[in-house]
Amino acid sequence: MTSVDVNNRVKEKTLSTVSRLSLQQVSKGFKSGNTNLTALENINLEVKPGEFVCLVGPSGCGKSTILNLVSGLEHADSGKVLVNGQAVVAPGPDRLFLFQEPALFPWLNVISNIEFGLKSIGVPKSERRERAMKYLTMVHLQKFADFRVHQLSGGMRQRVAIARALAIDPEVLLMDEPFTALDAQTRDILHQELQQLWAATGKTIIFVTHNVREAVTLGDRVIIFTYRPGRIKREFSTTHLSRPRHIEDQAALSLVREITAELRSEVQLAVAAEYGEAYEDEQIAV
């Protein structure tokens, strides 16, 4: 991407009236056996271009389902899922997933993994190496271009996955607990890198996490979900906190406390429900 692109995106972020992402009255249920489970109920969410939105909620409230709906892997039962005002019909490389696991291909070395994505979107062969190298350098792994995936640490793998995604130049990044499997120090570094990359590329990011501190560190907005059926409970803005942020920032502490308190009752509901089910299962098993 050229610097002109970045400028355009920044302008877009402030001027655009069309949301990058828009969920309107979205509901989604799953059938498991005879029981119908409402995963998401009446979700309304607007995300502006270049915005960084974090989703937080108890386990099973439907956060991953929202990402699946946006990516087009799942379809809503009712309501609209729009990207740039267009209804989502199928998965596409304009909305890229980053999972908890890096999902790199073990038969390719680092640079070829990034080139894999470029080939997929039809970048001509002659341009792939240079572009892949550029994004590998962005995540500071240029020295590891020829390494095999299994020769990297978990944090390095996740950075390669980020580079692979960014190289494809998607409009939206869907990040589903991407740093959960990493140690605290590596996560720290990746928080800094992600904020830099986001500032440099102007991507729209939806970021799912269980870690309230992480959400406050990264997001412009933090959205709290209720336990089943998943609904938006409350939304917090973090724009009063200056960037780049660090997970230990004192200024963020009161907001972190407030969000954690808001979340606690929902998490208790989730635990109670899951404990209850386990308890019932035990009864049946006996």
Partner: protein, 286 residues
Amino acid sequence: MSVTLETLSKSKPQSIASQLFSLKLAKAIGFALLKIVAFGLGVAIVWEVIYLLMVEVFHVWIAALFPAPVDVIISLIDHATDGTLLRATSASLFRLFIGFGLSLPLGVFSGLGLARSRWFKRVVGPIVLGFQALPSVCWLPLSILWFGLNERAIIFVVVMGSVFSITIATYDSTKLIPPLLLRAASNMGVRGWALFWRVVLPASLPAILSGARQGWSFAWRSLLGGELLTAGVGLGNLLNQGRDLTDMSLVMAIMLVIIVLGLAFDQLVLTRLEHAVQRSYGLSRS
């Protein structure tokens, strides 16, 4: 990052090709030969003891039916020096490599076909399972009627003997691909045949190679089965000749040759290839 270049450069990435054709290969061959010699020596000593006891001391068996190891080696040298052994071996290996060379790609592609197309699976799946249950020599009468008493008849038996196990191994291996890799690929817009070439096939490669090893041993058995029941130059024919002349030394010499050839290709080519791939995928410790 916490992981430095120094610690990682100890395990410099190596391509599969360079792993296979390096000095290490020479070492491995030397080591394998040493193992074979040591094993052979052990067998020869036990054999000699049994021979001395049963034939020379107690006269329970006769030397014509239980030769001494020396007789077998002499027979081996005799047939090696007059060229019969070389001619028979090359004729057999020719059939074997043509047959195995046909059934490997055939098996891999029909296995991938089974995984790819439900229609193909419904039609071909039961046939594969059924024919896999049929011992390969049972193809011989049909093969002779179709092709006549010639090379092609035996090659056909070799193909039939090994292709189905490779098909099944390939099909099974596609089921073991981590779903996350497929999801990541489809998220990047890789679908259809491209998904097959670029993800499914390389992801299945380690398991396909184990299947190929199994297919190799089936091919070897089928070949000898076919050769024993037909005339024409070959190791099976030499075995028959030994039987007709009550030349037990020849019979045992040929059995030895068959064991060594089968093992050598399996250990020096297929197993090495399998391990090299596993190492480069990070599936085993190198």
